[in-house]
């Protein structure tokens, strides 16, 4: 309990990943799904940095986490733009209601 090691950080990452996966698979709300994706990406970041600190990888893990942050920013921008378009077309952000691909 009192000695914090690699396994502790990995467990936090695993829990966050599972919560994000639950959010992505069960939510109907498009914004909720995107938040779940953010949780998953953050869980990956925790693992990258924890491995770099306690095991192999070193600074390279941090650089990968940096790339993940940039990727999350790009994903959020495009994803939320799609949510706006979805709302304009269907007047809802319920993803199960968006069944047509044509604009």
């Amino acid at each position: 309990m009192l000695h914090v090691g690699l396994a502790h950080f990995l467990a936090v990452g695993a829990l966050l990943f599972a919560l994000g996966a639950y959010c992505v698979t069960t939510r109907k709300n498009a914004v909720g799904i995107l938040m779940g994706v953010e949780l998953i990406l953050n869980a990956a970041n925790v693992n990258f940095v924890a491995f770099g600190h306690y095991s192999w990888g070193g600074i390279h893990g941090q650089v990968f986490a940096l790339f993940v942050i940039v990727l999350a920013a790009a994903e959020a921008a495009v994803g939320l733009a799609i949510v706006l378009t979805l709302y304009r077309h269907y007047k809802t952000i319920d993803v199960t209601r968006a069944e047509r691909l044509e604009g």
């Binding site: 309990m1 919560l19 639950y22 938040m35 925790v46 770099g52 650089v63 942050i69 939320l80």
Partner: protein, 164 residues
């Protein structure tokens, strides 16, 4: 001792924030829980001696990405009533079982596996050390991801703008 206390504090807040995202009926509450989780994760990065990442976590995640989420939620006025209906119970049950199984599997895997221990370099999280690796070993990916960001900005504008 201090490290352990801080770790448990940040870990509990991070997981509680994640739970808040999952349980919140109102997307606004979900976004604010996500904010708490992001700040707690920045604290965890500080505990791992990754100062640069901790600062970037607050700046980019809490400062930029979450503001974008809040902007969309407020712009579309997504209160609890306007947000999409809750999924049927069977979907929730299946999702919960799957997520629990996944978390259990990952935790047992991580706890049973042994990883080669290493002492992190003394300048582990310093801006200079990370920058050196980023600009020497990862020059091409760095340039590529700047292109990706440009493409994402253009794509977001084109998609959100609709008909010209």
């Amino acid at each position: 001792m201090t490290e352990a206390v801080l770790f448990w504090l940040f870990a509990v807040v991070a997981v509680a924030g994640g739970l808040g995202v999952v349980l919140a009926r109102d997307p606004l509450h979900g976004a604010l829980s996500l904010l708490a989780a992001f700040f707690a994760l920045a604290g965890l990065f500080l505990l791992l001696a990754a100062q640069l990442l901790a600062v970037l976590q607050v700046l980019v995640y809490a400062g930029a990405i979450l503001v974008l989420f809040l902007l969309v939620i407020l712009l579309l006025d997504l209160g609890p009533a306007r947000a999409a209906a809750s999924p049927p119970g069977v979907v929730k049950l299946a999702g919960a079982l799957g997520a629990l199984g996944l978390a259990g599997l990952l935790c047992t895997l991580f706890l049973s596996a042994s990883f080669p221990p290493a002492v992190p370099p003394s300048d582990f999280g310093a801006v200079a050390a990370v920058g050196r690796v980023l600009f020497i070993d990862y020059t091409l990916p760095f340039e590529a991801i700047s292109l990706l960001l440009l493409a994402a900005i253009l794509g977001a504008v084109v998609v959100a703008k609709g008909k010209v």
